[in-house]
Each structure stands twice: as structure tokens, then as C-alpha cells.
Amino acid sequence: MDIDDILREVDPVLHQIPQETRDLQDLTRAWVAERSTPELLPWPSNGLFERINDKIKRQIEKVEEMTGDMDPKTNFALIVIQTELERFKYLVRSFLRTRIAKIDKHLLHYISNDNLRTRMSQIEEAYARRHQLLLHNHYLNSFLGTFPPAMQNLNDTAGNISMIDSPDLDSAVFIRLLKDAEIECHGVDVDGVLTGKEGDIVILRWSDANGLVEKGDAELV
């Protein structure tokens, strides 16, 4: 038997981080990552947000129950719970607002591409479609209707330039390496290979950092 298995049997609590702490860490990482990249990242998988929403709802109910109880001891616990709830809600709100800002900036880009559409959650996708529809109708009513029919398209790709705005995938991002890694980087004058050690903070292009972040070898800072 592996020594780790023996240790775990002796004291299982010692070696595991509880699910809630892990959720908080995942939420924090997702928030920092979303705030740092120019393009929309995939919606967090493994049901993270559903769990967090549930927990927030239950915590709000608990707070409402405890507010009725005027015992001074529970009063302090109430303050702590409320403070932490506000922090959690701030994280969730900031995360969602960032994603909406990115979707708004490049609506057609995210809706038209199938791969990118899967990155949005269902609610976000519905929002994006409705927004695009409203915008399109507004444009049609204001000025687009007066154009000749051949020019009324909003996603024209003729003439080698696409009308759809896409996010700049080469903008600079800061990453922290979680493992020693060799990264191929592209630059203006030279292309280099970076031998990074764990704990390095590097600034490079998002297109180069993308693979690493997805694999989990680096995180955005």
C-alpha cells in the first residue's frame, strides 16, 4: 500500500480540502482569469455555478432566520456570515458582469461561431441572441432599412475584411506558472522559447498563454 493511502486512512481530514473551500478557490481563479483575458473563457464546468448559487440562496435564508433571533452570541455569527455573503456575491457579480461586457463587445463573433457559442452558459446565450435581435431591429428601423438590400448585411465578409469584430487575441496578459514549462512565444522581432520555472510571472501574448492556461500549467494573474 502506498504511504499516502495509509496516511489517508489514519486521518482522512488531514489530506483533503473540503468542497466549499475548493469551490471558493475555483470561483476566485475563474474571476481573476475572466478579468484578465480579452476573450470569453469557457463557462466553468462541473456545476460550479449551480452549486454556488444554491449555497448563496440557502445562506440568505439562514441570515433571514438568524436576524429574528436577538441573542447577542448569534448576533456576531450573523455579522460574519453577512460579511462573507457580501464578499461571495461581489465575486459572482463581478464575474458575470465581466462576461457580459465581453459578450456585448463582440456579439456577432460569439453567436456566429459554434465553438464559441458553447463557451457561454444558456442564459448568456439567450441574452446575446436577444440583444443582437434588438440591436439589429433598431439598426434596421433607423438607417439600415434605407440602404440597398445588397448592403444590409451585418456580417459581410466580402473584400477580405470581416465586418464582425473579434477580440484581439494577441494582447498582452500576465500569467503565473504553476509548473516548470517551456513555452513557445511569438514577438515582433523574434520568436523565443521561454524556459519558465514554477512561480514565474511572465507577460506574453494571450494566444501563446492560452494553451497553458487551459492545461492548467499556468494561471492568469
Binding site: R22, T83, Y90, G216
Partner: protein, 273 residues
């Protein structure tokens, strides 16, 4: 509704993130374990020390229910050593970040802690998951870099925010008069800001693919992020056409090499005369 800020964390957000760091407190009152969204808080029984997130520690301190134990790296001797290292030993780069948390357990001598704690309850899956699970690698603010046992002589990632918070709210808990620690911190901030400035001036004509900033702090990053990112993006946009031609030339050279050097021979200008 949509967040109007450009990409990158602002200083306020970095401060918010830093408040999630764990610190050691010495409680003055008993407090039961509270069920929070981020896990259960440990039970507080004076005079035993406990580790709490910074925001909770500050709350307790303000209500005079606990004292905060400053981390070892905040001791004036440690700060002086770091300043010496920054100025004399390594004037170019920042001082190295703290080493990963030790595997020996402080509280239970003789026991070792797993480097990558497994997250899966099912024991059979543990062997496969523990090597690949990216979540099992902890990083700031979830590394225990500001508790009392943290190694001295290294500046953790959120050093400035944590130091400021502790000095402002828990100045009486410091090992030395707060004024002394504050002046040392100020020196450290200046030294590192000067390094940051000199590294950006070296970026003039930045054509390299990457830039390493090992050991930089969170607040320093947040302050200079807009400038650095703007610089790198600006240089990239200005040099975009030059870069495109360079890549085309490289591609052609590669293709020319593949076809056995035929690329340059069929030139339109060559009339065969």
C-alpha cells in the same frame, strides 16, 4: 450592467483578493465554528492560535475579540535582509518568491503532508487524478504565506496589501514599533518601484516575445499593469506589418528549403536571357 473596466485587475480588486489570505490570530474570546460559504471557520479557544482569512481576522481585531500574529517576514530584521538583497545582491531582478509550503507538519511532528492533496473521495481514482488535477496546485492567495509560520526573508505575492492592512488595524501587535516597520516597508516599496521603472525603460523597442517578472508583488503588478500591457500592445500594433512580412519570409524560406531550393529560381524578373 456590464463591467466597464479594461482587462486586468484594478488595485481595489487586488486588495479584495489579498483579504482572502490566511493569517494567524490569537483569540481573546471563545467563538464556535461558523458555517461559512467558503468552509467552516476553526473553533476559537483562547489562548490557542488559529488560522483565519484576513478579512475575518481584521473584523475580529476591530471588535477586540482577537489579536493578529504578524507573519515572520514582517519582522524588521527580515525586512532589512530583504532590502539588502534587493539593493546589493540583485539590483536587476526582484527578490525570489517564498518556497512552496513545507511538507513537514508543524503541529504533528513526524507526519508529512501530501504535496498535492487529492480531491476525490473514491480511493481508486486518486492515483490517476492526483497527478493531473490542476486544482491541486495551490497558489496565492490560497498559499499559507502570511501565517506566523511562514518563512522569513521572502516576500509573498500579496506582501504590500497584507502589510498595510496589518499595520493600519493591528499596529500594536507588531514585533517592533509600527513606525519602524512602516519606514522599512516604504524603503522596500521605493526600491522595487525603481526596479519596475528601470525594467520598463529597458522595454523600449521591445521586440522580444516575453518578459519575466519573477518575484513581483500583486499591488506593483496592478499599478504597472496598464502601462506595461499598453506598451507591449502598442509595440505589437506598430510592428504588426513588419512582423507579418517577417513571418512570410520565414515561411517562404522554409518552403523553399522543402522544395530543394527551387523557391528563388523561378523569378518573374528572370527573363531567361
Amino acid at each position: 450592467m456590464a463591467l466597464p473596466l479594461p482587462p486586468g485587475l484594478t488595485q481595489n480588486e487586488v486588495a479584495f483578493l489579498a483579504e482572502m489570505e490566511m493569517v494567524t490570530v490569537v483569540p481573546r474570546q471563545r467563538l464556535d465554528s461558523i458555517d461559512l460559504l467558503g468552509g467552516k471557520t476553526p473553533q476559537l479557544r483562547p489562548p490557542h492560535r488559529a488560522q483565519l482569512p484576513l478579512w475575518l481576522a481584521l473584523l475580529l481585531k476591530k471588535q477586540r475579540r482577537a489579536n493578529i500574529v504578524p507573519p515572520a517576514w514582517m519582522h524588521p530584521a527580515s525586512l532589512a535582509e530583504i532590502i539588502h538583497r534587493e539593493t546589493k545582491e540583485d539590483p536587476e531582478a526582484f527578490s525570489p518568491p517564498p518556497p512552496p509550503p513545507s511538507r513537514a507538519l508543524y503541529s504533528q511532528p513526524g507526519t508529512a503532508r501530501r504535496l498535492n492533496p487529492s480531491y476525490v473521495d473514491d480511493f481508486t481514482q486518486t492515483q490517476q487524478n492526483s497527478q493531473q488535477d490542476p486544482n491541486s496546485i495551490l497558489s496565492p492567495p490560497f498559499l499559507p504565506s502570511n501565517v506566523a509560520e511562514s518563512p522569513a526573508g521572502y516576500l509573498p505575492y500579496h506582501w504590500l496589501e497584507v502589510a498595510e492592512a496589518l499595520l493600519t488595524h493591528a499596529g500594536d501587535d507588531m514585533p517592533a514599533p509600527a513606525g519602524e516597520v512602516r519606514s522599512l516597508l516604504r524603503d522596500l516599496v521605493e526600491v522595487r518601484a525603481a526596479k519596475m521603472r528601470s525594467s520598463t525603460s529597458a522595454l523600449e523597442g521591445f521586440g522580444d516575445a516575453y518578459l519575466t517578472l519573477r518575484g513581483v508583488g500583486a499591488m506593483e503588478l496592478a499599478e504597472n499593469r496598464a502601462f506595461l500591457a499598453g506598451l507591449v500592445d502598442g509595440v505589437r500594433k506598430i510592428g504588426a506589418s513588419a512582423e507579418a512580412t517577417r513571418r512570410e519570409e520565414e515561411e517562404e524560406a522554409r518552403r523553399g528549403g522543402d522544395y530543394g531550393g527551387d523557391g528563388d529560381e523561378d523569378s518573374d524578373e528572370d527573363m531567361g536571357l
